[in-house]
């Protein structure tokens, strides 16, 4: 496992100092991924039994978001050599030369340490430890090791994106429970279908960059089968909070309806002819998967708020 960044940045002469502004540094944090992290961590924090001061809760979610952003920056530092080869990522601040790799590494490391320290000092050290592990898992286990070595990269790597609700839960209870693991499972099982839908219509990009995504290694047919399998598992996991009794019936119905839509959307991808150029069903599944996760966690959030303020489940 190489622990260095292979990307050779253009040597900056004295008159070629960094042109990256504050927005570029913010882009290093992967704000779209961060928004999902904020949302799912908030749901974990609100669903957990117990109390947390609202301002401390705000700091907790902020620290988790910054920690996730820091791992995004470390990912962009390490992956600059392949990001430049893919249309989706070529304009990122490092491959486009607006921010130097060294500045990106320093930024990512500083924010990692800072976010973990803030979470530990203001909330508790279990959640801080979980955040540190999440950053390590995404930056080292996924980015440096799995991403370039196995087509199951995002299956295992998906754990990094699934940890925020567990951390949010631990912020309140100072423990890990079956309930928080159930929230983890929803995101963990959702990740493969979401990313393989993207990998289907971006297979050329991934191929050019040498990233062994499932469609490039095992072909479209095998990928489509796996997508349907994970869509079914995701749909089942969506109703588990209701079956376990810590989310209401209405929440379970929303999750079930969205889950059926997820399976249907994945089935359309399965029926899509191999070699299809436009890949419309795959693009639709990618969009729907985002809607699914947002919908299920919104239902859980509403349920948690109603439980907190009215003492009943919906």
């Amino acid at each position: 496992m190489a622990m260095t960044n292979d990307y050779e940045a253009p040597v900056l002469a004295a008159d070629q100092m960094m042109e990256g502004d504050a927005r570029d540094f913010f882009a290093l944090l992967k704000p779209r991924v961060m928004s999902l992290v904020v949302f799912t961590a908030l749901v974990g924090l609100l669903m957990a039994p117990g109390e947390i001061h609202p301002f401390i809760g705000f700091i907790a979610v902020l620290a988790i978001a910054v920690g996730a952003g820091a791992s995004g920056a470390l990912n962009m530092w390490y992956d600059a050599d392949i990001d430049i080869l893919m249309g989706r990522t070529a304009k990122r601040p490092v491959p486009s030369g607006r921010i130097t790799p060294d500045a990106t590494l320093a930024f990512g490391l500083f924010l990692s340490v800072f976010s973990v320290a803030v979470l530990g000092l203001t909330v508790n050290w279990l959640s801080a430890g979980l955040l540190a592990f999440t950053i390590f898992f995404y930056a080292v286990i996924y980015t440096m090791w799995l991403k370039r070595s196995t087509p199951h990269n995002i299956v295992i790597g998906g754990a990094a994106g699934a940890f925020p609700p567990i951390i949010g839960w631990a912020c309140v209870t100072n423990s890990i429970s079956l309930e928080s693991i159930a929230l983890f499972a929803i995101i963990f099982l959702w990740t493969p279908a979401h990313f393989w839908a993207l990998a289907l219509f971006k297979a050329e990009d991934y191929g050019r960059a040498g990233v062994p995504m499932l469609p490039n290694v095992s072909g479209e047919r095998a990928t489509k089968k796996q997508i349907v399998l994970y869509a079914v598992l995701t749909a089942v996991s969506g109703v588990v909070p209701t079956l376990m009794g810590f989310a209401g019936i209405a929440c379970g119905i929303v999750a079930a309806v969205l889950g059926i839509g997820f399976i249907r959307s994945s089935w359309r991808v399965f029926k899509m002819p191999d070699g299809d150029e436009k890949m419309i069903p795959a693009k639709k599944l990618f969009g729907y998967s985002l809607l699914y996760l947002f919908g299920v966690f919104t239902a859980l959030l509403v349920d948690a708020l109603v439980q907190k303020f009215f003492g009943v489940m919906v």
Partner: protein, 49 residues
């Protein structure tokens, strides 16, 4: 001694970074103040000198 002459674009980017750092530091100062009050409580003002 060699001086680095920044272009207008670079000066603008540096100004943007400086403003962002100032805003973040100000927010952090307020944040830590509020956290201290919440964690230690108003009793922090009553400690014996």
């Amino acid at each position: 001694m060699e001086h680095v002459e920044l272009s207008e674009q670079q000066k603008k980017a540096r100004r943007s970074r400086s403003v962002a750092i100032a805003v973040v530091l100000a927010c952090l100062a307020v944040m830590f103040y509020v956290v201290t009050i919440i964690k230690v409580g108003p009793g922090i003002f009553d400690r014996p000198m």
